[in-house]
């Protein structure tokens, strides 16, 4: 037997891929293929710009300059129960043991909180960097998000680093590492997106939610500042919406102490209007925003781990714009590929 044969045979008993993982990978491929056949997002000629959203960098292909945010249209919120494929036998991953089950948002959030609390955890040192690898996943939209006045297709920069003390961040763009020094102190930003700021948040769901509502405060009571002739779209910001969005943004930072992550899920349980749905084998849980868009957290249907976020237009954004209203944000559809702690920006775990 020669050396290559020995090398080959010595690793012959590598276990086959987990069928669930295989199915998820296949679904991701088909999702991308379906999105490609749709050709749904027209390419915009505007140059991509990077800007800061909740401390994590996104690029967007088109943005509107409208100042006024929000719309009056009330979201037609569907019932909070959906049929979702979940594992119910507690057994090892496999093709057996999955069956459709009626689940509520509360059920999903309880499981997600439990899964977060069981996660192994070592806090990063202040000088360490948190690496986040996102994948942008195009999602079929009924109404194109591009176009002259459209909100554009929002995307995450796929590989990012942020120092745990929140003072510096970095991202890869075109193969080059760019550094950004954060000018604002972490505590000035709500919700915090750096580890230091997150670690100071209360891990009690009620206290966390109270904090989220407190930040809605002045927005809700602000008098109209719209110039004459411009229709003020919404006199009061929906406080539940802002609170939920804050919780969503906290999750989007991706390296949370387990107790805080669990608190986010338990706080979400207390926000009215949360809906749950099946999303190609994942569980999607979210809330309508501005009456035209559904913002959802995605969970692995087996482990209840956070796997990403997606936004879906539920109403033609052009109609919202026609009413003279601005649209705050646009479809962000991303999955978490990996998150880890490294010693320097540019390193991968």
């Amino acid at each position: 037997m020669n050396d290559l044969q020995i090398l080959h045979d010595s690793w012959d008993n590598t276990p086959p891929p987990n069928p669930d993982v295989r199915a998820a990978a296949r679904a991701a491929l088909l999702e991308r293929a379906a999105a490609t056949s749709m050709q749904q997002v027209p390419a915009d000629t505007a140059p991509a710009t990077a800007f800061d959203v909740g401390g994590r960098r996104r690029v967007t292909r088109a943005r509107i300059g409208a100042v006024v945010t929000g719309v009056l249209v009330a979201a037609a919120v569907a019932g909070g129960v959906a049929t979702v494929q979940v594992r119910d036998d507690g057994g090892p991953p496999g093709v057996t043991g999955t069956r459709p089950m009626l689940v509520s948002a509360a059920f999903v959030l309880d499981r997600a909180a439990g899964a977060a609390e069981r996660r192994a955890w070592t806090p990063p040192r202040p000088d360490q960097w948190i690496y986040t690898h996102f994948r942008n996943v195009p999602v079929k939209q009924r109404w194109p998000l591009g176009g002259e006045n459209g909100p554009g297709e929002s995307q995450m920069i796929e590989e990012q680093w942020q120092r745990a003390d929140g003072r510096r961040s970095a991202f890869l763009d075109g193969g080059k590492l760019h550094f950004v020094d954060e000018t604002r102190a972490p505590h000035e930003i709500w919700p915090p997106s750096d580890y230091a700021g997150l670690a100071r948040l209360p891990a009690d769901p009620d206290a966390l939610l109270a904090l989220a509502y407190r930040h809605v405060g002045p927005l809700g009571d602000k008098p109209s500042t719209a110039p004459p002739g411009i229709k003020e779209c919404i006199p009061r910001i929906d406080r539940e919406e802002v609170a939920f969005t804050s919780l969503l943004e906290i999750l989007g930072t991706n390296l949370l102490p387990p107790k805080l992550e669990a608190a986010v899920y338990r706080a979400m349980k207390k926000v009215p209007g949360v809906v749950v749905d099946d999303a190609d084998g994942m569980i999607a849980l979210g809330r309508h925003e501005d009456g035209w868009q559904l913002n959802e957290v995605l969970f692995d249907a087996r482990t209840y781990r956070y796997t990403g976020q997606r936004s879906t237009a539920v109403k033609d954004p052009a109609e919202v714009l026609k009413e003279g209203c601005g649209i705050r944000s646009s479809g962000l559809n991303m999955r978490i590929v990996s998150v880890g702690v490294v010693n320097a920006a540019g390193q991968r775990p």
Binding site: L7, S10, W11, P17, A25, A33
Partner: protein
Amino acid sequence: MTITLRKADHDHTEPDLATVTTRTDADIIRASQDDPERFAAVFDRYYDAIHGYAARRLGASLADDVAAETFLIAFDARARYDLARPDARPWLYGIASNLIARHHRAEVRLYRALARTGVEEVTEGHADRVAVRLDAESARTLLSGVLAEIADRDRDVLLLVAWADLSLQEASEALGIPAGTARSRMHRARKQLRAALGETDPTSPGEDLDR
């Protein structure tokens, strides 16, 4: 899966399943230019193999990411696939190799861990270490230690041949390097392998190192 069964819209000469299943990878990739979902047939053919390759080099968890990402990248790049090549494996393994290279520290850690595991077993279980023929387990222990020491680019060539079952020529295509370069990297890697194996269990000495 319906994709392999469905008749191509633009190909009226495609009469039955037998014909469909014997299509080359290049045929499928060509068809997927117009009908993207047909690319799933490439996934169905090679996902397990790519995953297995990545799992040997990085462990199951990172392999999950690498294998999924390999097919997404391949899908995005399918328009640039050289349709003159019927077998897509070198292309796919090339993509996977690039992704694996991002984790080279994790790879080396894995080999070192495997090498250590074996040592512990030997010291606890077999006080009388005699010159026995290598079983798969102890060979793996020994070879893991060697793999951790082999230079990254040499290891890429070696493992594409030993674990992905590519020929040396295909490995050079996968990595986008000249065949001669692949040969010399292979030669270096095998010298290290044979040195390690030779100390324990000499094999036929006259073998051609380049296979």
